[in-house]
């Protein structure tokens, strides 16, 4: 299995860009959160690929923390979403302008 590390980096960059485009263009709050997950995963892939390239476990350790933070982020994000939905009956991120003036 001698795939050059660059291939993985390019793959991760593309997944990150797809996730970034999703965050910018989608209006559905849930899909925006999913796109954020995609971006986090792309970064995880970069960390693991470079961890193997540099023969160091540090990258995999950071991936461990990123996963924890991602899980916490989704839990809190969906809870906020539930609270907003019960008040406003909308999933559209454009209509949630509570903090905008």
């Amino acid at each position: 299995m001698n795939v050059p590390v660059e291939n993985y980096l390019v793959l991760a960059a593309l997944i990150f860009a797809i996730g970034c485009a999703g965050v910018l263009t989608r209006r559905n709050f849930i899909v925006i959160l999913m796109s954020v997950e995609l971006m986090l995963n792309a970064v995880n892939l970069t960390f693991v690929a470079l961890s193997r390239q540099l023969v160091s476990m540090d990258g995999q350790m950071i991936v461990f923390f990123v996963m924890t933070v991602a899980a916490a982020e989704v839990a809190v994000g969906l809870a906020i979403f539930l609270a907003i939905y019960s008040q406003r009956r909308t999933v559209n991120a454009d209509e949630i302008s509570l903090l905008r003036w």
């Binding site: 001698n2 050059p4 997944i15 970034c20 263009t25 559905n28 899909v31 476990m57 989704v74």
Partner: protein, 163 residues
């Protein structure tokens, strides 16, 4: 090498499905697919424990959470607006530029060749050793973060019942 391209194409296809599909259920299923395929990439990169965690934590917990909320709220398909807003266009152009830049940067990097991996690289023992020596403080802080997240999620979700 062929295996890598196969996996990479599938990963990109399902990532696009997440972003492009109107129905959030299909987006969630695409997300499961993407996460599984990234786990496969982790296995190919000799990170078995991380791959297991990926399947358990992401596919097993996070996506279920997404699906649960979608089912709970009965979210309908999004009506695609004909025009993308100005800021969306600017954002897409930026993303495209960003992707090209990242890809070029990754390719231009001097390929130094993979070094010989020590025995047990990516194993639970080695990861745990790193985690509990170098990452001890971060590990403890993570527990604090999870506590705050649990309390925050419960508080946010309870407000719904009261109103």
């Amino acid at each position: 090498m062929i295996a890598f391209y196969f996996i990479a194409l599938l990963t990109l296809a399902s990532a696009l499905l997440v972003v492009l599909h109107r129905n959030p259920i299909y987006s969630a299923l695409g997300l499961v697919n993407t996460l599984f395929l990234i786990a496969v990439s982790f296995v190919m990169l000799d990170a078995e424990l991380i791959a297991m965690l990926q399947v358990i934590v992401y596919a097993g917990a996070i996506v279920i959470l997404f699906l649960f909320v979608i089912m709970l709220l009965n979210v309908e398909s999004e009506v695609r607006s004909a025009r993308i807003s100005k800021i969306g266009t600017a954002g897409l152009a930026f993303v495209l530029l960003f992707a090209v830049e990242l890809a070029v940067f990754a390719l231009v990097r001097d390929p130094s060749g993979a070094q010989e991996l020590p025995a047990g690289f990516g194993s639970t023992e080695l990861l745990a050793e790193t985690l509990f020596s170098k990452g001890m403080l971060s590990f403890e802080l993570t527990s604090l973060l999870l506590l705050v997240a649990v309390v925050g999620a419960v508080v946010m979700a309870r407000r719904k019942v009261e109103s």
